[in-house]
Every structure is written in structure tokens, then in C-alpha cells.
Symmetry: C2
Subunit: 599 residues, 2 copies
């Protein structure tokens, strides 16, 4: 059916919406695709629903192509399964929780690992039933602290989520690779540039995971890549661990007076001046900076942690957030901040400006045997035998030549510092470059975490119960619509890739003569009869300028103008992306558009 | 793609689920279409999703055919619009309410009048923009007190809801009739018998409304119809109001002692014995029974109301619930129960067993001038001049010959008593018959209620602001799937109408020979190539009996069995509905099935 603008439920806006901070949000609202209903919650208007449907169908086809079967779960779910997996707690404030009239707890699901696990448990009982991959395209909820950027980070959004179930690790790897391939084809068909990067599993749990990032200045994820092919979310970059050093015969550490050295710079200057090195100078890289952090758990509990890092590197709180869950024994949404003075006061062993690790030459104050009882983690560069200048846990005193593994221990290592452009890639494939992107997809080898928690076991070949191993895989569907608008627009409006455009051709009738409108209506009908989707701007009293503006704002790839040229038997056909316009004889117009669509 | 049962995510069940109280629920679960996730909340498995998709598409096509445009609203909505319309309160406990992390109130929408009104207000400004009809197929929420019957009354369910916007009443009527026609076509195409009945508007507000009921013994709605074409939900049946009677010269009412007459029967016997009528006998129809009721408002408030009805008719609480909102000044979910002794105690003017209306011969205790201040409503049969035997508001006393309009007044009339089979239809089209059904659709002429509340005005022809008039229209989509299974099954399983069946043909390979499985696979491929949807039971080690049982349980209209007959070059093709089976030469099988599908 030809969509006539005289009746289509659409009003374009000249002004940007006040709350729109990115181009896709501005344009999708102005061009009449979506409308805000509440913060981070949007309604879909007719044209938007068309684009959304096309994105969904591409995803559906590629899922079917790898044998995944479509199901559909409720959004409103009972608490119990999420209680068992601990995510009822771990999701913290990001979870919408509610009670029914009887006071039973429910949630609006942000993702469905638990429910798929239970469903497969319900239906399957043997290794012969596996592998199976199930997916749904479904509305999800997440109570974002700061919903922003329109559809890019919403609170109600559509995801395609799938889950694979295998009897062994090889099976999981095959299911994972199948999804990885399907995702690459999906984004290719959508026309969305993608970088696949290593990622941390975060709240989801599991071993291996990769993100499909769309490079975008307004993206919230920073990733790095090397010319040699390494690519990772900055949260997942692992430090190249130096070799351990034999410290036999190394001199004893010595505590020195270092008054007025509150910063790494002043400390380095002071020790170079008063305690010079045998050869060369001390640098910030020789110092061990001990940073006190506060980790807020999903339960609201605030836990103090001390992290020791080389003094020449800044602490990266996001990298710590992404990697600290195993150290605090809780997954989910962990927020890490610098400790406040108030936090420090509760731990008198922490001497601000002079904090050191647990010291064997003094009374141990940190680490496993620490008097303060605080967790002490170090950067992976702190390996046995490395020698450090660091705080002596006394006001005005530092210690020089403190040997890791001899003079102090630690509770664990953590990726805690910034990754810098120019750092060597962990796989030795060259120096790293950084860029920003937005997460369009994420695939996880979950392993047996959920199956174990919820008791999903099947009989194996030997007739014994074996726990199933799982993968989980997500694509942001509404987010994909926004990312497409974000990466395909100019200052006049959206420029949809053909695969997802709300129509193939946008016919504009300009002028007042009935013959123009008759010809435009006729052409629209013929284009539709040729199997094309047509928007026809038949509004009688709207100026050509407004019509052209709307056509460019809406962003259908081909614009066909029926106007003055009609007297000479031609129409103008314009490519929205290139701006190239051609006069085409009326009789050839349909074929011209048809060819343009097929290109 | 041929659905092979060896890999399809499906396990049929031999046992009925313990919580299933109706056939559709039992069969949809046993045949692997749906699965319970929580009370009244279901997951859709692959076959169920197929059926659901077909139902949705039929609805979508018929909506498009009347020019309705599809949009999609969020399920999670802010409180404010529903506060303005008063439905935040009126929905009572049926509404799922929640708060976000900032403490802002949200709801899971049961229906979207407010949001559509605001959207049209947002986009449109002139009568030239109208009429417009918008619809969505969307997940809705309702916290039912007693979710039951599987998908027939769920708490998370899919509805098609549409809304029409017109400048005047004629326009509204045209939009209403267009939807009415579309609904008839939808149910016709689905294969669902429908009776359209007059209905009360209830929580929705507005003037005219009709329900599309599917006749069904397990349905929750009772409706009546006459041979002459009258049909109404029993809640909406209006009583034929008798003519007023001239009471000039009628004798005065007299108070009489009637000890030990706690019931209508004992009262009638007593007055016939001691105060005989001039001609004939007193009957229960001559008595006015005053019933004390408690109306629980959505706010939780309990309000006492007295209703006077002829003594020969039982009070019908559901009819009162459906019609009382205008009397208590609040729409929404009103629960009406008999008053308790405790309620009565709070109103000493109410003498149990001897309650009368406000009496002019005594102190008035009820009605507008009532000392008790209670609302007094009467059945429409109580018109001016009618004479009644009723309570005298004193223990052991009744009054005879109390004339309505002369001796007592009332605050309003209400449909309060049972409709009986054999009662005359209100339009005189003959006696009524009663049946039960389930509401599959409901259409409302809302009028200006929501537009006024939310300020939806457009400029009219004279350049003046005019309030838009609206209709709202709903079809239960998930409920339709259940109703189809409920009305199309036998003791072996479901018998899907072709339009919604999960496949056109179910191929069963029986036996162990490779040639049988090869031939069945070949035929399945050919059937698919002929444009048919195919389920193929290729399970190698499953007995023919189990396979036949599963085929009949699943309910695809045509079952094709490849088995022993193959040696003779034939397959068996069976019609699931009639049970008629024919041996058909292999070479003709595809064409045979194709013809069966087209019938």
C-alpha cells in the first residue's frame, strides 16, 4: 500500500527536541519515527515501526539460518529464578522490581538466562536432545541511572537474545562460533560497521565473551586495536605480565624520611635528590602508588579496597569495575569510587599520602595478614622480585627497595590502570590505538554457571547426569535502529541503508496542477505494482521546499520528484546519499528506480 | 523450512498439567505450544509462536484494510496521564504499579487510551488531520485476582488495541462501524464463531459499546439473545419500563403488624391470610424488597447502598457492578457485595428484615432526605404510581399500599435484578435465551471523556477549538489462540482451523526402513517447494502409535503418513477434523494436499 503523506500519521518537526543530545535521537524524533513517552521510554510511530520490523526480520532470518528456534518469554517474571542465580540482588538498582496484589515479588526482565535454563530443564533430559539454540525478539527493561541518547540507552528496549545449550565445551564453542558468524552477517546486512572486541563478562558470568562494537564518537565503550589484529574493549585489555626477578642478594629495604612529598612527582624529586639511584634516576614507574577505593555492592554495602599500581599510571575506575567482581565475591553492578576522607577515618592504619603494602620490616597493616583487614590488590606489573619506592604507613616516611614477594604480599592482581595509546598489544601484534564505540551485540560463553545454579542436567552417553554448558548472545534491536541513524545521516536528515529504509522510494509531487498529482499518483501505483515500497507526498498545499526538506529528513534512499519537468516528459530521480539527481523520462522511471533498489 | 520433530524444540506431554482447568489450557500445554512461567503468565514455544503470528497477521491485515495505522507504545508508562484520567485509582488492584530508582510512579499498562490521546494531541492540530485510526499489537498487563483458564484470563497478554479520533459524532459512528466490520471479518477469517452483543462501557467510560463474544460453556460472560435479533451481555440488558400509573384516589398506605415474616414467602403468606387483596392474591411481585449492599470502590472505600427491587426477582450483583459507577461518582473496578451485619450495625435506621424506602407517613430514613444519608436506588419497574408491600423500618412491621412517587422517592434507578430466560427482549423482538461466552473483542464509542481530560482539541472549520471524539477497540490476541483451541478440539487434541494452524501438513514416517524415511523426507521437501508449511516427524526410534498421537494432539489439519503402503506406492492422507483417511499414490500426494489446503 502506498503511504500517502496526506493521511500518514506523521508530523515532521523543524526544531530539535530539547532533550536530544545525539544526532540519531534528534533526527528520529524530528522525522517522526519515534516519540518520547517517559525518560528512556519511547513510542514507535508508523515509519519507525517499519524500520524496526526490517531490522527484526534480518535478525530473524540469520538466526533461523544457524538453526536457532524462536520462542517468546514474558517480560514480567517471578523473583525465584533470579534469586537462585543471585541476579535479583546483583542487578542492584538497574532492575525494575514490583509486587503483585498478593505481595509476591516480580521483576521486569533485563535478560532471560534463568528462564531459558529452566525451560530446557523442563523439556529436555538427554544429551541426544542437544545441542539446541533458542532465541526471542522481546521487550526488555533496565532502570538505567541516566537514560540518554534516545534509543541508544533506553529503559524499555527490544533485544534479540539467544541461548545455546550443549553437552560439552566443544559443542559450546561451535554454538558460540555459529552465533558469532550470524552476528557478523546481521550487521553486514544492516549496513552497520562493526569491530569485534574481546570483552569482560561482567554481570553475566562465564568465561569468554566478545562485543560487537559499532565505532561511534558518542559511544560509551572505549576499545583498543592494533594493526596486527588485536581488538578489545579497554575493560578487557590484559597487561603483559613481566617475568619474575630473582631477588637473591638484593639489599634490604630502607625506610627514609620524606617530609612534604604528597605526590608522586614530589616524591620522585625528593628521592632523586637525597637518595640517588646507583645508575640513572628514579622515575614515577619505580614507585608503587597505593590507592584506596570504595566498592559499592548491589546490596548497597560499601567495601574498602586498596590497590597498588605503578606510580606512572593513572587508575582506571571502569577497568576496575569490570574486573573486581571475583575479588569481592559478588557479580553484578559494582560501582568503584575513590574512598572519601570519611572512609579513611574508619581505617586508622591508612596514613593518607604514605600508604604502603603490608610490610615485613614493620607491623603488617594490609594484605591477608593485615591488621586493617582490607583487601589488597596489585597491578599485574607487580610481580615477585620487582623493587618499589612506596609509602611506609607512617606520616612523612617512605620505603625504598621494597621487594615484591620478599617484603610484601597481596591478595590478588587486578587490571586497575589506564591503557594508553601506544601500549603494546597483549598478543604482541603492535601498538594499540583507541577509539569509541557502542555495543551492538555481545556473545558469552557462559559455561555451567546458570545450569549449575538451576539444576539443568541431562543424561550423558554413559547414562550419568551431566550439567549442560551454555552460551548467551544478545543484539540490541532498538539500539540498532538508532545506531543506523547515527551513522547514516547528514545535516539534512537520515540516509537509511536500503535494507532497513521505511520505503524504497519517496515520490514528491510539487506544484499545483492536477496533471502533476495525477502523474505522481500513477507513478506511485506503478512503483508499488513493481514490488517496491512507496511513500507518496500528495499533500496539496505544502510548498516544494517543505516537501523536499521532509523527504531528506525522512531519508528514503531514492527521491522521485514529479514537477515542472513533467511538461517535458521527465521526472527527477535523486539519490539521497550522494545527492546526485537525474532527469528520467516518465516511461523509464519505474525501471530506473527498480535498478537503483537492486544495486 | 520443514520443521523436523527430531530437532524441533517440542516435547508433548501425556499428562494434563495439574493447574489446567479448561481444555484449551490442557491441550496447548500438552501439545507444546505454551508453558507457564508464573500464575497467568506464559511463555510461547516455537509452534505456539507460529499460531500467534498468524492470528496477529490476520488482525493486522484487516486493520490496514480500514485504514488504521500501526504504531507501538511502551508497556511501562508514567503515572501522570493515568492520574489525569483517574484510572490510576479506578483500576484498583488490577493495575501493576511500580517505582523507578528515583521513586517516580509507573504502571504496566492494561490499555492505552491516555497515551494515544496525548500522541494525537502532540501531532495534530486541525480538523483537516482527522479522522485518524491508530492501532498496536502489544503486550498488556492486568493483575487479575484469579488468573485462570490458561491464556483465557492471563496477567500478561497480547491485545490489538485501536483508537479512532474524529471531529464529530457522525465521524465517530463511521469509525466505530468500520471497526465493527473489520472485527467481524477478523473472527470470520480466524474461524471463530462470534455473537455481537450490546455491552456496558464499564471502566472505559463512554456511551455505546458492543462486545464480540465467542459462545463457550467456560466463558465468563453471560449473554442473552432473542429470535428477533436482540443480543446483549446480561449486564447490559435493560428492563422494559412500565408506564406510570395515576394514583389519584388510591387509598392511603397502612402500616401492619407482620411478626415472624423474615422472608418474602412468609410475608406474602401472612398478608394474604390477614390482609387479603380485593381481587386475587398478593404475590412476591407485589412486594418491594430492599437490599443493603456494600460497594467497594477502587480506593478501598466501602460504601453502603440500598436497592429496592420487586420481591419476585433475585438481585444480580454483576449487573449492579456493571451499572453502578454513575451513582457512586467513580468508574473503574467496583465490587458489590451483600452488606454484612457489621455494616448494618453502623446504620441503626436499617431494621433487618423490615427495611423500607424513605416513608412519607413515618420519619424518612432513606433517600435524598434520608436520616441515614444512604443512597437509595430502585429497579426500573418501580415507577410513579406503583403500589408496594414493603418494610416499615420498624421491627415486625410492614406497610401495604405504599405508592411510589406519592409515599416515597428514590435517588436513581439501576438494573439490579436477574434477567430470566423467557423475559421479553427490551426491543420487543421476542423472549430471551441465555448462553455463556468469552469476550474476544470490545468496541467503545468513548466520546470526549479522554480528550476532555487530557485537552485534545483541534481547530474546527470555523477556526475554533473543538474537543475530539474518540472510539477505542480491542481484540484479545493471545486469548484468541486459546479460544480457537477451546472451540476446535476433540479428546485426542487440537484441530486447528487452516488459517492459524502451525503448519499445513504434518508428515509422519512410520516403520524402520530407510526407504520410508527417504520417501517421507522427499515428500516433505516437495510439499514445502509447493509453498506449504510442513512439520515432518522424522524421529527414528519413536513408535507409530506415539507419532500418530502427537500428530493428533498438535492438530495440524492434514496428516500424511508414509508407512507400509509405500511398498504399494501409496501414502495415507488423513483429515484431522473429519478423521477421513485416503490412500493416495505417492506421485499425487503433493497435489492432493495442496487441494485440501485450498478448500
Amino acid at each position: 500500500m502506498v503511504l500517502r503523506l496526506s493521511t500518514l500519521f506523521l508530523r515532521t518537526l523543524r526544531e530539535d527536541p530539547a532533550d536530544a543530545d545525539v544526532a540519531s535521537h534528534r533526527l528520529l524524533v524530528r522525522a517522526g519515527y519515534i516519540r518520547r513517552a517517559a525518560p528512556g521510554i519511547y513510542s514507535w510511530l508508523p515509519l519507525g515501526l517499519r524500520v524496526l520490523g526490517k531490522v527484526e526480520n534480518i535478525i530473524r532470518e540469520e538466526m533461523a539460518a544457524i538453526g536457532a528456534q524462536e520462542v517468546h518469554f514474558p517480560a514480567l517474571l517471578p523473583r525465584e529464578p533470579y534469586e537462585i542465580s543471585n541476579r535479583w540482588t546483583e542487578y542492584g538498582e538497574n532492575l525494575f522490581r514490583l509486587q503483585d496484589r498478593k505481595g509476591a515479588d516480580y521483576l521486569l526482565a533485563p535478560t532471560h538466562e534463568e528462564m531459558f535454563t529452566l525451560l530446557v530443564k523442563d523439556l529436555y533430559s538427554s544429551y541426544k536432545d542437544l545441542p539446541v539454540s533458542l532465541f526471542q525478539i522481546q521487550t526488555k527493561y533496565r532502570d538505567e541511572a541516566r537514560p540518554r541518547a534516545g534509543l541508544l540507552r533506553g529503559r524499555e528496549f527490544i533485544m534479540k537474545d539467544s541461548y545455546s545449550f550443549d553437552i560439552d565445551d566443544e559443542g559450546l564453542d561451535a554454538s558460540y562460533q555459529a552465533h558469532r558468524g550470524a552476528y557478523l552477517r546481521i550487521f553486514e546486512r544492516l549496513g552497520l560497521e562493526i569491530v569485534v572486541v574481546s570483552a569482560v563478562s561482567g554481570a553475566m558470568g562465564g568465561s569468554k565473551s566478545e562485543e560487537f562494537l559499532h565505532p561511534m564518537e558518542v559511544g560509551e565503550d572505549t576499545y583498543v586495536r592494533s594493526a596486527g589484529g588485536y581488538a578489545a574493549n579497554v575493560e578487557a585489555v590484559t597487561t603483559v605480565v613481566p617475568a619474575e626477578i630473582d631477588y637473591t642478594g638484593a639489599p634490604d629495604a630502607r625506610v627514609v624520611d620524606t617530609p612534604d612529598t604528597p605526590t608522586i612527582d614530589t616524591l620522585v624529586n625528593d628521592v632523586n635528590a637525597r637518595f640517588p639511584r646507583e645508575s640513572g634516576s628514579w622515575t614515577a614507574a619505580d614507585t608503587l602508588k597505593n590507592v584506596v577505593l570504595a566498592v559499592t555492592l548491589p546490596t548497597g554495602e560499601r567495601r574498602i579496597v586498596v590497590v597498588g599500581v605503578p606510580g606512572d599510571r593513572a587508575v582506571d575506575l571502569k577497568r576496575i569495575e569490570a574486573n573486581i567482581s571475583s575479588h569481592v565475591g559478588m557479580g553484578g553492578e559494582l560501582a568503584v569510587d575513590a574512598a572519601t576522607d570519611e572512609d579513611l577515618k574508619k581505617h586508622p592504619g591508612l596514613v593518607k599520602g604514605y600508604i604502603g603494602p603490608g610490610l615485613s620490616v614493620e607491623e603488617p597493616v594490609l594484605g591477608e595478614e593485615s591488621a586493617t583487614g582490607l583487601l589488597y590488590l596489585v597491578d599485574p606489573r607487580v610481580v615477585s622480585g620487582t623493587s618499589w619506592i612506596t609509602g611506609a604507613n607512617e606520616p612523612g616516611k617512605h620505603v625504598i627497595g621494597l621487594i615484591a614477594g620478599r617484603d610484601f604480599t597481596w591478595d590478588g592482581t587486578i587490571e586497575a590502570v589506564e591503557v594508553r595509546e601506544g601500549d603494546e598489544a597483549p598478543d604482541g601484534s603492535g601498538p594499540l590505538e583507541a577509539a569509541r564505540g557502542i555495543e551492538m551485540g555481545h556473545i558469552f560463553q557462559l559455561g555451567r554457571k546458570y545450569a549449575e545454579a538451576l539444576g539443568l542436567k541431562v543424561l550423558d552417553k554413559n547414562g550419568k547426569l551431566a550439567t549442560v554448558t551454555m552460551g548467551s548472545y544478545g543484539v540490541g534491536v532498538t539500539r540498532a535502529v538508532a545506531a543506523l541513524a547515527e551513522s547514516h545521516h547528514d545535516d539534512k536528515g537520515i540516509i537509511w541503508p536500503r535494507a532497513v529504509a521505511p520505503a524504497d522510494v519517496h515520490v514528491v509531487a510539487t506544484g499545483r496542477g492536477a496533471e502533476i498529482f495525477d502523474a505522481a499518483a500513477q507513478l506511485s501505483g506503478e512503483l508499488e505494482a513493481a514490488g517496491l515500497e512507496v511513500i507518496y507526498d500528495d499533500r496539496p498545499k505544502v510548498s516544494p521546499g517543505v516537501k523536499f526538506g521532509d523527504a531528506e529528513l525522512i531519508g528514503v534512499p531514492t527521491i522521485l520528484v514529479v514537477g515542472r519537468g513533467l511538461a517535458d516528459g521527465v521526472v527527477e530521480i535523486k539519490d539521497r546519499a550522494t545527492g546526485v539527481a537525474e532527469n528520467v523520462p516518465v516511461a523509464e522511471a519505474v525501471e530506473y528506480v527498480r535498478r537503483a533498489v537492486q544495486q
